[in-house]
Structures are given as structure tokens and as C-alpha cells.
């Protein structure tokens, strides 16, 4: 047991300085371009160089002070971190409450042999519960991880293959159909415009594109450009997938932890205590779902509580893989013989479908009506546009509504309650019944008329609550009472007049 105070590794300074150089370099290019407008080039370069040097020097000096003032200690009971220059911060975590130790290293840090360590207790009190060691050596990080998470392990099942899933390179085929591809395509187009604007050449770029497409109509030009952006996006998505998932390995470690290791340039290692696992979520985004694939997210307490966006991928256990495979991995993660998400689910009443169809039609009718009114007032061209929209969008909206209804389902499968919903992002969540810490029942005025309600199982894990949308009134309540015995039952009463209400609304 190491009792002495330890410091961050001095090579941290090198990593920080290199990042600053990169930032300064990136900013220098547009700055030189901007300054060179009014004065000779050498002068602009000199100014920018001086600025760069100052920035790097000041940044490194600040980093040095931080390094000098930061120390940590792993004691038998607690882990302490003292940091801060003017405002001294002392943070202390009880070792028995530590739930995760995550290591990340970007390419630069990997070259220098350093890692960033995040030690979390998995509580809902924001940043207070996380302790971050900004760069120690890789061996030190690994040592901390093992020391802090190795505690009285339950009797181990020996002879069990510890790897739950390893990378299959064929999974990359799902990368271009994810939502990342169009986003990257759009970003690439935006970047071209932005960079050309820095050099005052945006007009030229647009002219050049116009020249390429002189022979074709504007419609074709737009179509071609969109296709081009999509292709660029798809290539980008492939690259990003390789970066994210290279060397992927999901394994169960002795001591009751799950560990995900992945990453080509930035190596990530996420450790998750099984004790914190309350279930899994099978997520099928539309594009991926059309190709029969799904990804698996963990539903765990205290995961990524401090800044959700930045560490949103911490809960991702498995990339998009064929659905059947994803379910098998989910079952193995939960140590269940059969995947709970594969159980047959109860369908929701027809009123739920009616509601979805109505929403779909309203969402089409609104814009169409607006266009029609404008057309009547201004120009008849808009009337044709409105008619076109109505003809094209209505079937799409109806398709989505029917798909959304088909997605709805709920059921109890062994120790788990299962709820499925969503069409653009279909999610099937399997939540431990013992992990439910309350129920919320919601009913809008329209839901009351339709005889349906929305049920939310609140939990300490994941998003804090998982919804079962538009179940039948009695159906949903009976399900909730069955899933968590004793909690809801005292507040239920029988309906004496049997529900003769036809659900044909």
C-alpha cells in the first residue's frame, strides 16, 4: 500500500507545450493572413511569432505551477488530491466508494507514455465526485486502476472466457449509415467555406464550383454537391470508426468489473463495476436499424455524471453490430443465459397508433396549410409547392407513425423489465426490476380521452428514468405492479364497471 504523496509526471509539461504549439500554429495561419493585409509580411510574421512564443511560454509556466502544486496519495482508506495555486482544493474520496477508474491517452500522450486517469465514485453530486489526474505514466495509471478496483472479489467463475466481445472488422460496414456520416459531410462543406473565407477566397471557391457545373442545371448541381458531401461524410465516418473502435475488446475482469478497451490514436480504457450495472440499452438508430444492426449501451449508476456530452461514449459497450450478435453480447454482459431484450413484448393499444398517426398528419398539415395561405395571399406558385409537399410528405409521415407504433412494447423478462420505443432512435431498454426506485404515471388531457398513459420507471442509473409510452391505462398499471411487486399495488383499485370503452378512437 503506497502511503507517500505522489506527483504528476514532469513530461506533462511537454504534452501541454506541444498542444499549445499546435493551437498557436492553427491560430497563426489566419492571424498572419489577417495582419498581412495592412503591413509587410515579415512584420506580420514577427508579430505572430512573438505572440506564439508568449502564449506557449505563459501556458507552460502555468502548467508548471499546476504540476508543482498538485499531489495525490492513495491511502488505505482514502484517495486524496491536493491541487490549486491561489484557491487550494483538497479532494478526498473514500476508497470503498470508488466505482470507476478510466484511462485515456490521446496520440501525443501515447507517444510520451502518459495517460489521464479519472477516478469516479458514481454519485450524482456533479464534479465533486470525480478525481482527475491530468497525466501520469501509463504504468502508474495501470497500477492505480488495479489497486483501486481490486477489492474483495466474489468467488470467481474460473474457466470462463473473460472476453465478452472483440472487434470484428466487418462491423465497419455499419459506420457509413450512422448519423455521423451526414454530420461529417456537412462539417466538411462548412470547413471549406470557412477556410476559404479566412483567405478572402470564398467568392472564388463558389465561382470555381459554379464553373465545374456550367453545363448542368441548378438542381443537378445541388444534387451532385449533396452526393459529394455524403461521400466525404461516409469516408470520414469510416475513419472515425477506425479511430474509435480499433483494438476494441470488452471483457469481464476478476473482481466483478467490466472493461472496454478501444481506440487507434486515442486509447481509451473504461472500467465499470458490475455492481453499478442496472441493465443495458439496445440502441438502433434509423440508418443502422435498416441494415439490421444495433449497439449496446450500459445503464449504470454514476456513469459520466460530471459532463455528459464530453464523456457520452463512456456508456457505449459495443458498436453497431448485427442485432442478434448485440443481444448475445448484452446477455453475456448481464450474465443471463438469454437476452432479456429478446423476450416477446406486449403491444400497446390501438389508441397509441391513432395518436401517432394524428401527430404525423398534423406535422404535415401545419407547414402545408401555412404554405397554402401564403400562396393564396402572394403567389400561386406556393400553392403547387404546398400540394407537392402534401403528396410527398404524407406517406412518409404515415410510414414513420406506423413504425413508431410498431416500436412500442413492454414486458417483464426474468429479473428485468423491458421497454421499447422510438423510430429515429429505437431503443430497447432492459432494466433490473430491483433497480427501479419509483414510478411516475403521466396522462395528458388527450391521453385521458384515449384511455392511455405514459409510465416512467425512475432509476438511479442512466438517464434517471425510462419511459413506456402510451400503454393502456389498466395494462400499464398492471405491468408496473407486476414488475416491481409491492410498490404500486397499495395505490391501485379495481375498476368495477369493466372497461367497456372501445379503443377505436
Amino acid at each position: 500500500m503506497s502511503e507517500e504523496w505522489r506527483r504528476l509526471h514532469p513530461r506533462t509539461l511537454l504534452a501541454g507545450a506541444a498542444v499549445l504549439c499546435g493551437v498557436a500554429g492553427g491560430a497563426a495561419l489566419p492571424a498572419v493572413a489577417g495582419l498581412a493585409g495592412g503591413r509587410p509580411l515579415w512584420q506580420a510574421v514577427a508579430w505572430v511569432l512573438a505572440g506564439t512564443a508568449l502564449l506557449v511560454f505563459a501556458g507552460t509556466a502555468a502548467d508548471w505551477v499546476r504540476l508543482r502544486r498538485t499531489r495525490y496519495r492513495v491511502g488505505p482508506e482514502r484517495v486524496d488530491l491536493h491541487t490549486g495555486f491561489l484557491l487550494l482544493k483538497q479532494r478526498s474520496l473514500a476508497r470503498e466508494r470508488i466505482r470507476s477508474v478510466d484511462l485515456t491517452a490521446n496520440p501525443l500522450q501515447r507517444v510520451l507514455g502518459l495517460v489521464k486517469v479519472r477516478i469516479g465514485t458514481g454519485e450524482h453530486t456533479g464534479g465533486e465526485s470525480t478525481l482527475e489526474l491530468d497525466l501520469v505514466t501509463r504504468t502508474e495509471g495501470e497500477r492505480l486502476r488495479q489497486e483501486l478496483l481490486a477489492r474483495a472479489a466474489a468467488p470467481e467463475e474460473t474457466g470462463h472466457d473473460s472476453a465478452l466481445a472483440t472487434l470484428d472488422p466487418r462491423w465497419i460496414r455499419y459506420a457509413p449509415v450512422s448519423f455521423v456520416a451526414p454530420a461529417l459531410g456537412g462539417a466538411a462543406a462548412g470547413a471549406v467555406m470557412q477556410v476559404s473565407e479566412w483567405f478572402g477566397a470564398q467568392g472564388k471557391v463558389i465561382d470555381w464550383i459554379g464553373d465545374r457545373f456550367q453545363e448542368v442545371s441548378v438542381t443537378w448541381m445541388i444534387l451532385d454537391l449533396v452526393l459529394l458531401a455524403t461521400a466525404v461524410g461516409a469516408v470520414g465516418a469510416l475513419g472515425l470508426w477506425v479511430e474509435m473502435w480499433w483494438n476494441y475488446r470488452l471483457e469481464r475482469e476478476p473482481g466483478g468489473t467490466l472493461r472496454v478497451r478501444r481506440g487507434l490514436l486515442t486509447a481509451r480504457s473504461v472500467t465499470l463495476e458490475e455492481r453499478r450495472l442496472r441493465g443495458i440499452e439496445l440502441v438502433e438508430p434509423l440508418g443502422v436499424r435498416l441494415f439490421g444492426a444495433a449497439r449496446v449501451d450500459a445503464v449504470a449508476t454514476g456513469l459520466a455524471q460530471d459532463d455528459d456530452d464530453k464523456h457520452a461514449d463512456l456508456k457505449n459497450l459495443l458498436p453497431a453490430v448485427p442485432r442478434e450478435r448485440a443481444e448475445r453480447v448484452a446477455a453475456r454482459v448481464l450474465s443471463e443465459p438469454e437476452p432479456p431484450t429478446g423476450a416477446p413484448l406486449a403491444a400497446h393499444p390501438r389508441a397509441a397508433r391513432t395518436r401517432r398517426l394524428r401527430w404525423a398528419l398534423w406535422s404535415v398539415l401545419g407547414p402545408v396549410a401555412l404554405l397554402a395561405v401564403l400562396g393564396l395571399l402572394l403567389t400561386p406558385v406556393l400553392l403547387y409547392v404546398a400540394a407537392g409537399c402534401a403528396v410527398v410528405l404524407t406517406p412518409i409521415a404515415v410510414l414513420f407513425a406506423r413504425d413508431a407504433y410498431r416500436a412500442l412494447g413492454h414486458g417483464v423478462s426474468g429479473a428485468y423489465l423491458v421497454a421499447r420505443s422510438g423510430t429515429v432512435r429505437r431503443s430497447t431498454v432492459a432494466l433490473q426490476r430491483s433497480g427501479v426506485i419509483g414510478w411516475t404515471v403521466k396522462q395528458s388531457y388527450f391521453q385521458r380521452r384515449a384511455g392511455v398513459l405514459t409510465l416512467t420507471a425512475t432509476t438511479a442509473a442512466g438517464t434517471g428514468g425510462y419511459d413506456v409510452y402510451d400503454t393502456g391505462e389498466s395494462q400499464g398499471l398492471a405491468f408496473a405492479a407486476e414488475a416491481v411487486p409491492g410498490l404500486l399495488a397499495p395505490f391501485l383499485e379495481p375498476v368495477h364497471t369493466p372497461e367497456a370503452r372501445p379503443t377505436l378512437r
Binding site: V441, A460, A478, E493
Partner: protein, 166 residues
């Protein structure tokens, strides 16, 4: 499923204090009065836009008064609460109604909150937090003595119930 018998949620046993209706009315009046006064003053000062500003002020005033007349009475009928040895059970809302149930074993903290307006009506709100990030359960419009007693009882009950609340 648990048999063919249809079930529904029964209303919680206790209504909120009758003074809550007046408190809600006062709240709505204050929230209406602020924009009405601002719009009215602006209307008095800015000549060219006077008509439109005063029209907007009038519209807000009418809407606010209508809500004041209508909603608090409805809320009073809907808002109910109940605390058993096992759970806290609350019903709130009007157009969107909400029933919330939290078992004693999962309750983390119990607070009473009294805003300035609540204090004038001798009312208090009891806030019950669980480990879920979906927000606490609030029992509004309780007599302040009752609220204090309830908070004490809840604290004792949660302490007596084992469990780590996650």
C-alpha cells in the same frame, strides 16, 4: 399480466390545505401583474406604440385573470398526497396529470421549503429526493406545521428503512 381485472390508480388520501388555492391565485396574480405593469408603463411613456402596448397589456391581464379564476380550483381538486409506511404517493397537474410514487427505501433527502409568498399564507412545500436524476417529488401547499411534522416523520421512516437508495 395480473389477471383480467382492470385496475386504476386511486387518488391519494389527503387533499392539500385550502389556503393553497389562495396562494396559487396570488402567485398567478403576481406573475400576471409584472408584465401588465411593464407594458402599461411603456404604453404610457411611448406615444406612437401606445395602442399596441396597451392592447398587449389588456390581453395579458385578461388571460392572467382567466387562469387565476380557473386553474387554482382545478389544481386543488387534483393535487393530493399520501404517505404510507412504504411509500410517498403524490398526484399533481391539471391538463397534464402526474402520479408519482417513491418507496421509503429509496428516499435520500427530505426538505421543507417556504417561499416568501408561501410564508404569508403559512404554507410550506415538502421536497423528497431520490437517487433518480428526474427530479424530486414535491408536495406543495401544506400547512407549515403539518409540513414540518411530515418532514420529520419521513426522515424517521427513511432512517428506519434499510437500503442504500440506489
Amino acid at each position: 399480466m395480473t389477471g383480467e381485472n382492470a385496475v386504476r390508480l386511486r387518488p391519494p388520501r389527503n387533499a392539500v390545505d385550502e389556503r393553497a388555492v389562495t396562494w396559487w391565485r396570488a402567485q398567478l396574480l403576481v406573475t400576471t401583474a409584472v408584465p401588465v405593469v411593464v407594458l402599461g408603463v411603456l404604453g404610457a411613456l411611448i406615444g406612437p406604440a401606445r395602442f399596441w402596448l396597451l392592447l398587449a397589456a389588456g390581453a395579458v391581464a385578461v388571460l392572467g385573470l382567466a387562469c387565476t379564476a380557473f386553474f387554482p380550483a382545478w389544481w386543488f381538486r387534483v393535487h393530493r398526497w399520501e404517505v404510507t409506511d412504504e411509500a410517498v404517493y403524490v398526484r399533481t397537474g391539471a391538463l397534464w396529470q402526474e402520479w408519482r410514487i417513491a418507496p421509503m427505501s429509496r428516499i435520500q433527502t427530505v426538505d421543507t421549503v417556504r417561499g416568501p409568498l408561501e410564508q404569508t399564507f403559512r404554507l410550506a412545500t415538502v421536497t423528497v429526493t431520490t437517487a433518480s436524476s428526474k427530479g424530486p417529488i414535491r408536495i406543495e401547499g401544506l400547512d407549515h406545521a403539518l409540513a414540518a411534522e411530515l418532514a420529520e416523520r419521513l426522515t424517521a421512516l427513511t432512517r428506519a428503512t434499510p437500503g442504500d437508495a440506489t
